[in-house]
Symmetry: C3
Amino acid sequence: MSINLKGKSIISLNDMKKEELLYLMDISKKIKEGKYSNFLEGKIVASLFFEPSTRTRLSFQSAIKYGGGKSIGFATSKSSSTEKGESLADTVKTVNGYCDAIVMRHRIEGAARRASDVSTVPVVNAGDGSNQHPTQTFLDLFTIIEKKGSLNNNVVGLMGDLKYSRTIHSLLIALSHFDVKLVFISPEALKIPSRYLEYLKSKDIDYEIYNDFKDCGKSLDILYCTRIQRERFYDPMEYESVAGSYVIDKEGLEYLNKETYIMHPLPRVDEISVEVDDDPRAIYFEQAHNGVPVRQALLGLLTGTIK
Amino acid sequence: MSINLKGKSIISLNDMKKEELLYLMDISKKIKEGKYSNFLEGKIVASLFFEPSTRTRLSFQSAIKYGGGKSIGFATSKSSSTEKGESLADTVKTVNGYCDAIVMRHRIEGAARRASDVSTVPVVNAGDGSNQHPTQTFLDLFTIIEKKGSLNNNVVGLMGDLKYSRTIHSLLIALSHFDVKLVFISPEALKIPSRYLEYLKSKDIDYEIYNDFKDCGKSLDILYCTRIQRERFYDPMEYESVAGSYVIDKEGLEYLNKETYIMHPLPRVDEISVEVDDDPRAIYFEQAHNGVPVRQALLGLLTGTIK
Amino acid sequence: MSINLKGKSIISLNDMKKEELLYLMDISKKIKEGKYSNFLEGKIVASLFFEPSTRTRLSFQSAIKYGGGKSIGFATSKSSSTEKGESLADTVKTVNGYCDAIVMRHRIEGAARRASDVSTVPVVNAGDGSNQHPTQTFLDLFTIIEKKGSLNNNVVGLMGDLKYSRTIHSLLIALSHFDVKLVFISPEALKIPSRYLEYLKSKDIDYEIYNDFKDCGKSLDILYCTRIQRERFYDPMEYESVAGSYVIDKEGLEYLNKETYIMHPLPRVDEISVEVDDDPRAIYFEQAHNGVPVRQALLGLLTGTIK
């Protein structure tokens, strides 16, 4: 199969076939190794952040600029014309004349898809409500490959808010295309929805379910943590009673394998103690940094400046 | 006449003689054709948007960056020192040391003129209150030339809020230097002020007045639409009764000539139906996109990087 | 001594030895003379302005971009993840993967130091609360050298709010390393704290104290003015009674030497009358403009792109 992503929009994980995803991973690796430079020269990427997000926005900005490109845009909808009653479609059709690609975050599910439907330049979804945030998943996958050599043959623990976390659901779908075993670790109230378990069965992916990472940590290649939001519990007492089982601190490290890498989409609050940061298994900052080469690769492929 | 705009500020249409305007149009065309590149290399343009405006701001950013330049600035006065009681003149005199040109939007009429009076670098007015927004007119003129080959020999319809629209008034003045016929189409409450009619008479420009574009559409080369703001009517019922006569939808298209181009400064709300967008006569997005080459040309000429 | 600032953070004046400071001044001069260009090419500097500041932010932006570098960041904490409860340390550790240096302003004293403690890239403090703002002092020193040829052999008047002004305190400390005489001019309520006088004695620096610049102006090489904030006085009447003694207007100029340069960190409100601006001794805008070469030099040295 010849792979050509030029002109495509990436709104959800499903916009990339497995081969395309692996190609993106490969280009990302080459970029991190310094094998491409200034490929975005002369290109402008518009960052339309209708909803603020420092981390994702700065990561894209960094990708655009280390790639040699330039950026225009806004960081909050406060400074956008949608305040004047303009439709999103009109904003996109106008901005199409100002740039070579659009990176967009919006609080409304489906907004990015709507934008890509009318856009004449590629649109990258940088998060639409609680729906999709595909580049987060791409950098998660890249980090796993970087540390483990492959997406195959890994036991991946997914811990925390398995019910609502968009990051977890996307990662689960992405991993299901590979030879992995998944281990779900969460309180009852936030357990993985059964539709995902059905899906995994249909794909013949093995999984296990735990309430405490201490019971399964030694078996894991990766432990992917997410935040448990107090607001998710009807009963604050219930939150207090369970939260401790999902906190990784110095003592918790003892329950992991010597090679269990700890990942987190960040920002974290207290689910990973800062005393863990210096442990070689703590790779969540590296993981965040990987957003730069992965987003560079994606923008290079979509604009056709990397072939 | 030798034309040299280096160092000039452009605050109102009157800052450009007819020959200079035509020269700007010519350079804009060459830029759109790719005949100049990176002329702004090493130059910084400060975007001082004391009042937010996505469209105009991003269009200038795009112009600066496709021209090879860099940009500094702010998108709202929230992040400006004027909050600390600093005078506009002091802000401008300080920023003069940071850049090669200033693009400025301010809510107060005359602010841009005041800025240009103290500035040692060229100032471009990107809108001061309801006063002047000359680059909007430049891109309007450029679009007419691009579609019709010339500003002369056109019948131009101006529709909507002819009483208050800054865009309409500026375009009218600019067109009055050419061999055109103007057709005014508006409700009584928003008709073109008589001082403009007097002015046209003094310039020997023919005009006609209508209440409904359906009565004159077939005669038009250009139909330039603007929004009718509900707030302009004392009586909401009056708004309801007239608004429909100024909406272009699929049916309305029937009343236009096969070559009547439809323009709009955008953003639109409902005065042009989205079903019209695919009609080849609907050129308002192209018109918006033309802001980029026109603003590139202007910045190139004012900074002396295009001669 | 071999001077190498690569990788260092500059949080307070004390982070630079006297020799390093003089080296910075020397490089700044060369940059202003056009002797370095594009040294920041390929580098990204993150501007993290948790607290807004147009002047300082734009000056750094200009320095980065005239130096050939690129910039990412935010202008207010409204658009930062700290709103989601992320610690400053985590924000810094994440942003480390996006850039080659960080420029940071924060309302909390010590925030910049904390950031530099965890950062793997150089951090420049662009103001933390009422604590430190070292680059303001650097540009002040640079301006004195530029006008007087040296930091030595100057009588420097410091006027206005000598009690609270961070700018004054930093400049005093910096000047104390040179052969200067200091003249303090302020109302009683805002006089220089005695700990600074003790310090000057320990350094064998001569000083004098006045309540009115008219009594000492003829003896000054430099008169450095700062704003007196009405809010500093318990009794508004007291403010009214003294404020006039610290305002430089056309008449006040008569009390200065023909070569007494007037400096001010800006923004000013009414402590220097605009009628003074055209006097050749009024150098406060030049002083502000000097922020660009000085910040370029600093970023070049810290990133190792200038050696």
